[in-house]
């Protein structure tokens, strides 16, 4: 997979969704809070 696709924002965001789903299934509180924060942080991409 070309680097361009690996680091594309859509790819990263899709990985976030999968990771959040996995965390939801596992049910570990720290991981869930971490994922929630990470999703919020990545959602602010484009701002400086």
């Amino acid at each position: 997979m070309p680097l361009r696709l690996i680091w594309h924002p859509l790819t990263v965001a899709a990985v976030f969704v999968v990771a959040a789903g996995a965390a939801a299934v596992i049910g570990l509180a720290p991981t869930l809070w971490l994922m929630m924060g990470a999703a919020a942080g990545f959602a602010t991409s484009g701002s400086t």
């Binding site: 990263v12 959040a20 999703a39």
Partner: protein, 168 residues
């Protein structure tokens, strides 16, 4: 993490008289308001310090400069926030989180921001050279889809927290 700690401290005072249902009601109200704003049903300004971190911050050198830059952005002292998710996250942390879990959320927020910077640096356009502007252009081109994906990841995590751990 600094902001998360502050949210827990302040939130602990606000949430103290509220029963668990009341705390999650506050979270729900914030979530609904942000969603309605996101879809254009409501229009209101969310608090944000609409100032960029000045480039002069890097006069402090290659270590202190980026540190100050990160502190100002990470704590929200200076930043634009194109998404309402941080506000919902702040409400969840303030109303429901213990300090360790708040720190996890704060660390996660930093991880998400760091991943933005990392992926923009690693993004390679077809010309074969690093082009961070290209990454941000791709973000702008797919902004709606990206908002949906990040919102989905956020909501999946939040729903899992409520399902697994109920109303603390």
């Amino acid at each position: 993490m600094i902001t998360a700690t502050a949210l827990v401290v302040i939130g602990s005072l606000v949430r103290a008289p509220l029963p668990p249902v009341g705390r999650w009601t506050v979270v729900g109200v914030v979530l609904i308001a942000v969603l309605l704003r996101q879809f254009g049903v409501l229009s209101f300004r969310l608090p944000e310090n609409r100032r960029l971190v000045p480039e002069t911050v890097f006069r402090l050198g290659r270590h202190l400069g980026p540190l100050q830059f990160g502190l100002e952005m990470g704590t929200g002292a200076r930043t634009y926030l194109p998404s309402g998710l941080p506000y919902v996250g702040a409400a969840v942390v303030a109303m429901t989180a213990s300090l360790p879990l708040a720190l996890c959320a704060g660390a996660g927020f930093g991880l998400g921001r760091a991943l933005m910077a990392l992926s923009s640096l690693r993004f390679v356009v077809s010309g074969g050279s690093d082009d961070t502007d290209g990454w941000y252009q791709e973000w702008r081109d797919h902004a709606r889809i990206l908002a949906g994906l990040t919102g989905t990841a956020f909501m999946v995590s939040l729903l899992a927290i409520t399902v697994w751990f109920g109303m603390p």
